[in-house]
Structure formats: C-alpha cells, structure tokens
C-alpha cells in the first residue's frame, strides 16, 4: 500500500500532475470511511421521520 502511494506521488511529481492529488486523496478518504464503517448498524437509531 505504501509503495503504491509512493509510486503515485512520484508519478505526480515527475509528470507535474498535482491536480490528480485531490482526486486520489478524496477517493482514499471515502474508501477508508466505507471500509471502517462496515459491520456496524448504529444508523437506524438516529433516524428522523421526515
């Protein structure tokens, strides 16, 4: 995983494609959130009717 991130960083640095950084960061954060929150079901407790 660390190697993949390093490769991505080097790719952005060499090719000067830093605009890719937000896309990668957002996707990583979303992925982490989805994986970590799996297997829990607290949400139905905090429902609203409308």
């Amino acid at each position: 995983m660390a190697e993949l991130l390093r490769d991505l960083w080097m790719f952005m640095k060499v090719r000067k494609k830093f605009w890719l950084a937000p896309i990668i960061v957002v996707l990583l954060l979303m992925g982490t959130l989805i994986v970590l929150s799996q297997g829990s079901a607290i949400a139905p407790f905090i429902y609203t009717l409308f």
Binding site: P22, M30, L36, S37, G39, S40, A41, I42, T48, L49
Partner: protein, 393 residues
C-alpha cells in the same frame, strides 16, 4: 504568482470534479432509496403513494412497494368486492414489516392461512401499518381513510412504543370539544438520540441537499456507534424511565408508575372501539413481545445500545391491555406465549430488533388461531367476546 494561481485553480477544479462525480455516483446508487414517510396535515406522517424504497442493511435487503393509496399493500379497490371479507390491520413498523418482504409480513401470513382454512368468503387482509403510528393516529386514519375501505374486521396491533408515541403525539395534536383528535400536526417529535444527530449534522442548507454529505455522515454515525457501544449503553441508562426520551419505558425496571401514560393511550383505543361499534365493524386488539421479553439471546446488539442487559425483562403493559380489553369486551391477543414456545432462532434482527421472517411467521400463525378461535370471521352480531365480562356494554 501566475503559475501558482493556475495550479491552485487546477486543484480546485479537480476537487470539484471528483466531488461532483461522487455525488452523481451516490445519487445513482441510491436512486431507489426514495422518501419514506412524508408529512401529513392530519396523520402527522404518511407513506408516499407509489413509492418504491430499497433498504439494504447489514441484516437485510428488502424493497418496500407502496400502493397508490399510500399503503404497503398490493393495489385493491376501495369498493369492497362481493363475497370478500375485508380485514384492516393497523399498527406501526412491526405491522408494516421492516426488514421483510410484503408476503412475509404477519398481515399477509394471516391472509394466506385464513384463505387456506377455507370459508364462504375470500379473505382480504389490508396492511395499513406505518412506522411510528399509534392509536391516536390510527383513530384519525380510520376516520379519514380506513372506514372508506369498508372493513369487516379491524385488528389493531398495539406496540410497546405506542405508549410513548401517543404521549408525544398528544402534545402536538388538536382536539374537538369532546376530546376527540382532529389532527396530529406534522411537527417533529423528539426521538432517541436525536440530540446526537443534531450535534453532528450540518446546518448548512446546501450541504443538507447533497446526497454525498448524507452518505458520508451516515458512515460517520456508524463509525461512532461501532466505537461507542459502551457509551450508548450508559447514555440509554441515563434516559431510561423518562417518557420524554425513552421508547422502551414499559419494559424498564426503573420506570416507576407509568400507568397514567397507558391510560392516555387507552383513551384513543376506546375512541376507536366506539367508532367501529357505530359503524358495525368488528374490532380486536393484538400485541406481541419485543425480543427482551422472551429471550436473553435475541436482539443481541440492539439491546445493549438501548441500555438493556442479557436477561429477560418483564412488562405490565400486556396486563393493562388485557384488562382494558376485558372491560370493553374486545377480543385480545397477546402472542408472547407463542414466541416463547417457538423453537426457532432468530425471531428478531440482532441489531434492528424487528421481526425476522421467522418472527412474522410466528405472529401470523398466532393471529390466525386467534381469529378462528374467537370466530372473528362470523357476522358482526355474534362477535362479542363471550369469554370476557363486558363491564360497559
């Protein structure tokens, strides 16, 4: 400086692009999520007609299809067909059938079993269960909709949470001079853990409209819940026994004397009884146990979050209900013994707490036996429950 601004602009565009793509993705994934209840000027809330709602959770994946009359039922003609005996099932989320398909609900199990038992008329059971309905709203539902379906029999499924629901709805309802409800205004009532939601959720209108924001916040709640089960347990203990916050009040050991709150709910049951008598429609009341009333093992996760330990809890609610029905000569079913005798597991979802398909099957079987034993399919004139003394005929 120009180069820096160019790069900054590129990063901003890139950020907006990925967030926009994710927003579209979430909207596509949740295209069938649909709205669940909508605000209703008379009934506080009601199902959206013709809605198709997918609910995919860890414990179940179901689709709720709402018919054109706003009920979780197949389409049916308001005008009752000849040679049809129509049963109207009132209730809340347990009757609605959270977590199960429509044909698995105890309402449809009853219909199937009664028709299989044979009889001169076709039996049609209409499922009018809506989450968080309670007798005050069920009375209004009958007045404004239910009676027009010309039911021959109304079965009201009284849920343990109805005690608190009626207490809450009474505060936002309007009444006529004789104390009969005219409407329950569609004002949000405070529910369990609402404060936590308010604490986390954004108050920025634009963010509230973004599905991506909802998607992320739901997962943040889930993360919090996963980490904080002991915290939720302690928190539930703090509010337990307080009718303002506690939906499980009738099962709390520290609840004190809460019969006054049941009496308030019973007032609406009495109004329903009178209304149905005036219209020559048979009436029965049924209730069923929550998991903690029958087993230490059932509802294993959810019970901790609601501040319950791994033991069986008692409740006086069913005694109060039985006494009320006895006084009025209303046939009454408490299916707790049927659930205790069942050899199946689980009858309830471990987290959610509603009936699994097996739980609905037990409830449907018990209700069929009850309807047959009490001869509730007989003509109305012979329907007085002869096993009970009628104090106020």
């Amino acid at each position: 400086m120009k180069k820096f601004l160019q790069n900054l602009g590129l990063v901003l565009v890139s950020t907006l692009l990925i967030l926009g793509t994710l927003e579209l993705g979430v909207r596509y994934l949740h295209r069938n999520l649909g709205k669940y209840p909508k605000k209703d000027p008379i009934l506080h809330h009601a199902l959206v007609p013709n809605a198709v709602l997918e609910r995919i959770k860890d414990e179940f994946a179901v689709t709720y299809r709402i018919n054109s009359l706003g009920l979780r039922n197949e389409e049916f003609s308001i005008e009752k067909p000849q040679d049809t005996f129509r049963v109207l099932m009132l209730g809340d989320s347990y009757t609605f059938g959270i977590g199960v398909e429509i044909e698995e609900t105890f309402a449809k199990q009853l219909e199937k079993r009664l028709n299989a038992a044979g009889g001169p008329k076709k039996i049609e059971v209409i499922n009018a269960g809506v989450s968080s309905y309670s007798p005050i709203i069920e009375y209004l539902f009958l007045v404004h909709k239910g009676l027009s379906y010309q039911p021959d029999l109304v079965i009201l499924n009284y849920d343990i949470s109805d005690v608190q629901d009626d207490y809450k709805y009474t505060q936002i309802a309007e009444f006529d001079a004789e104390g009969r409800p005219l409407k329950v205004n569609p004002i949000e009532v405070q529910y369990y853990y609402r404060e936590i939601r308010k604490g986390i959720a954004s108050n920025i209108p634009l963010l509230q409209k973004l599905r991506l924001h909802q998607f992320i916040m739901e997962r943040v709640y889930q993360l919090m819940g996963k980490r904080d089960v002991p915290h939720y347990y302690e928190m539930a203990k703090v509010i337990s026994g307080d009718i303002e916050y506690d939906r499980d009040l009738p099962m709390r050991e520290n609840a004190g004397d809460w019969k006054q709150h049941f009496d308030s709910s019973a007032k609406y049951l009495g109004l329903i009884d009178e209304l149905l008598k005036e219209n020559n429609i048979a009436f029965a009341i049924a209730t069923y146990p929550y998991a903690i009333l029958i087993s230490e093992q059932e509802w294993k996760i959810g019970r901790r979050l609601r501040g319950f330990d791994e033991k069986i809890y008692p409740t006086k609610l069913f005694d109060y209900l039985a006494e009320f029905c006895k006084e009025r000569g209303i046939p009454f079913l408490n299916s707790t013994p049927d659930f205790i005798a069942a050899q199946e597991y689980p009858l309830y979802y471990a987290y959610d707490g509603h009936f699994t398909p097996a739980g609905h099957a037990i409830a449907g079987k018990a209700m069929t036996q009850f309807v047959l034993d009490k001869q509730l399919l007989a003509p109305k004139s012979s329907l007085v429950d002869k096993s009970h003394h009628v104090a106020n005929p």
